[in-house]
């Protein structure tokens, strides 16, 4: 079809009245630039563009000359050989070098020799196969364009009717329609059979959390089943990872201590055994950051003064688990008294009861009420009053 006869007027109707369409039929034919001279168009589009079809097939060098084909063959074989060499390099490196061997490579510094050679070897091995295959396909495999027509997916009406007939006939012969008792019980059996699968799936989500997320080792000695037996004597605060008890006078202004409850980690010097099981789980809930500020630095707000009173002479202890998603909040700027979470930049103001002043966290960090014992060591006067860490369903 040619654009001259097929084109229907379209567009620009605001500039032309209905009469104009009849009077000048070909006023909006597409601008043809292949006529050899420049045509000034009127800005309108034709009703549709012609399908340009496939471009004429161009023969490749390897199709035309046997010499070029030979060259392509050698190139493909060369790439496959490169892959073989890479694999051999990998195998040799695997057996020849110890994993502790290091070599100096310009630009990389001291690197593991085996890592480097494994990388180069496997890289060459895979790249050689891939590049070889692509080059082979591009130069030697047939590249003539082929058009495959699409056919409807629907079966013929006769085939569909035949299928329905077979199914209905089978049902009749099995007496499925005549004996509804079988139909009902079979349906019930199959339906119930899905329950064991479902129960396993729900059951394998684990036991109900009870209140284990709300309690920490500051509440009591872990009983090994997620519960805690209250302490006879309130636990001391000890350093992480050395498990040394902390004297209040040693916490100078501007100091930060990373703190755990006594008895979590072993300390041979003091004869403390530490937890045998679940050390990391307990640590993950009980970690505390201890800071000492000048008492004058606390804000005169209700929250700030409460924080000061829950501390000891300006020493305050807060849960280290972010209330957003539970990262360890440890970046303490002692000049601004801001406590920063490294994951999402939630910022807590230590002078104001760790109120959130920036970032996605919604609740202040829970504070641990501290005191000193007779010997001057810091103790946890009370456990946390709320669950530490991020929000969860039962937290309420």
């Amino acid at each position: 079809m040619s654009s001259d006869t097929d084109a229907t007027p379209r567009g620009g109707s605001t500039a032309y009245g209905a009469d104009d369409f009849a009077a000048e039929e070909s006023w909006s034919t597409a601008v043809r630039l292949d006529d050899g001279h420049h045509v000034v168009g009127d800005g309108a589009l034709p009703a549709h563009f012609e399908n340009p079809g496939l471009p004429p097939h161009v023969e490749r060098m390897a199709d035309k000359s046997e010499k070029a084909a030979k060259r392509a063959e050698r190139q493909v074989a060369g790439l496959f050989t490169l892959s073989i060499l890479g694999t051999i390099l990998f195998l040799v490196a695997y057996f020849a070098f110890d994993t502790a061997h290091r070599s100096w490579v310009p630009g990389l510094g001291n690197v593991s020799t085996t890592n480097l050679l494994f990388g180069i070897g496997l890289g060459l091995a895979l790249l050689g196969i891939g590049l070889g295959a692509v080059h082979w396909a591009k130069t030697l495999m047939p590249d003539a364009e082929v058009v495959e027509e699409r056919h409807p997916m629907r079966s013929s009406d006769a085939a569909r009717e035949e299928f329905v007939g077979i199914m209905r006939d089978g049902g009749e012969k099995a007496q499925l329609f005549r004996r509804p008792l079988i139909k009902a019980t079979l349906g019930g059996a199959l339906g119930l059979f899905s329950l064991p699968l479902l129960v396993q799936l729900v059951g394998s989500l684990g036991p109900l959390p009870k209140n284990h997320l709300s309690l920490t080792m500051w509440n009591g000695e872990p009983d090994g089943h997620g519960g805690y037996t209250p302490y006879d004597k309130r636990p001391r605060l000890v350093t992480d990872p050395e498990a040394m008890p902390i004297k209040a006078e040693h916490v100078t202004i501007g100091s930060v201590y990373h703190v755990l409850p006594e008895g979590l980690l072993a300390n041979e010097e003091l004869g403390v055994e530490g937890l045998e099981h679940g050390q990391l789980e307990e640590k993950g809930k009980a970690v505390v950051l201890l800071m000492r500020l000048d008492p004058k630095d606390f804000k005169p707000t209700e929250r700030g003064q409460k924080a000061l009173s829950w501390g000891y002479q300006g020493i305050v202890a807060y849960s280290k688990i972010c209330t957003h998603v539970g990262c360890p909040v440890g970046l303490y700027e002692r000049t601004t008294h801001h406590l920063l979470c490294p994951c999402h930049q939630s910022t807590f103001d230590v002078t104001d009861g760790c109120r959130v002043i920036f970032g996605p966290a919604k609740r202040p960090l829970p504070q641990l009420k501290i005191d000193v014992d007779d010997e001057g060591y810091l103790i946890a006067a009370e456990p946390f009053h709320e669950a530490v860490g991020p929000s969860f369903w039962e937290r309420g």
């Binding site: 510094g109 001291n110 690197v111 930060v256 360890p328």
Partner: protein
């Protein structure tokens, strides 16, 4: 001798002669001049010298009596360790006001001058002294234990590989590579700028030595895995993977789609 005599009018001869003369006089002076006695204890003279240096170099911000102004903090009680850290790493005197004093390219004062200023500042009020060499080199320390202490106490700001990291409002924790053990010890002791204090009761001198041993061991070990990309973790790694990795894949896809002929 003839060969030398023949070349005595060579244009380079005069420079060579001058150089030789300078080396000889310099060498002789260094060998023969009386050595100044470096007193371990701060003498009254050292304090006085320190005060003079302080007045000319530090008083603009810290005040004539080192009690601070609204642009520089009070230095009473910071101790000689703080002075040695701040000046020994080239952070002080600060080139320009800013949220944080960056590590200087060069140290602007001699060791004696820094010691004198330190003696003056220490004379104002008691503060941590420059630590003894015993625990500041990392020699004999246990890098494994040091690593545990580092990961608990330091890595949240300084990165687990000691590559440093960002804080709020343009402040940052500097990288710890290429820092002298003495300066690491002093930074722990004094808590420069935003950094909290880790005194000897918190992290004992032996543990501080372990910590320094760990940092030195990491520095010597290098990166067996190849390019560390600043040891900054998944962000630069992801950037490289997305930009370069994806770029290569896009290029490969384009090449695959091109016609053979």
């Amino acid at each position: 001798m003839n060969a030398l005599a023949a070349r005595r009018r060579h244009p380079a001869a005069i420079f060579l002669l001058l150089l030789l003369g300078l080396i000889l006089t310099g060498g002789a002076y260094a060998a023969l001049a009386p050595k100044p006695a470096i007193a371990a204890e701060a003498s009254a003279e050292q304090v006085k010298e320190g005060q003079e240096l302080f007045k000319t170099n530090c008083a603009t911000c810290h005040g004539a009596n080192a009690l601070g102004t609204n642009v520089g903090p009070n230095l009473a009680g910071v101790g000689a360790a703080a002075v040695d850290f701040q000046m020994g790493t080239g952070r002080m005197p600060m080139a320009e006001p800013g949220v944080q004093a960056p590590r200087g390219k060069e140290v602007q004062f001699s060791e004696e001058q820094i010691a004198a200023i330190g003696a003056f500042v220490a004379s104002l009020a008691p503060g941590p002294a420059v630590p003894a060499e015993e625990y500041t080199t990392g020699a004999g320390g246990d890098p494994g234990k040091g690593g545990e202490i580092f990961r608990t106490n330091c890595s949240m700001c300084h990165n687990s590989a000691g590559a440093g990291g960002a804080l709020t409002r343009g402040k940052y924790a500097p990288k710890l590579t290429g820092v002298e053990g003495k300066h690491i010890y002093e930074a722990l002791l004094t808590g420069p700028q935003s950094m909290p204090v880790f005194n000897d009761d918190n992290i004992s001198p032996e543990s501080k030595n372990d910590l320094i041993a760990y940092l030195k061991a990491m520095e010597e070990e290098g990166n067996p895995g190849g390019m560390a990309l600043g040891s900054l973790g998944p962000v630069p790694e992801g950037l490289v993977a997305w930009v370069f990795g994806l770029g290569v894949l896009v290029g490969a896809a384009y090449w695959l789609g091109q016609k053979g002929a």
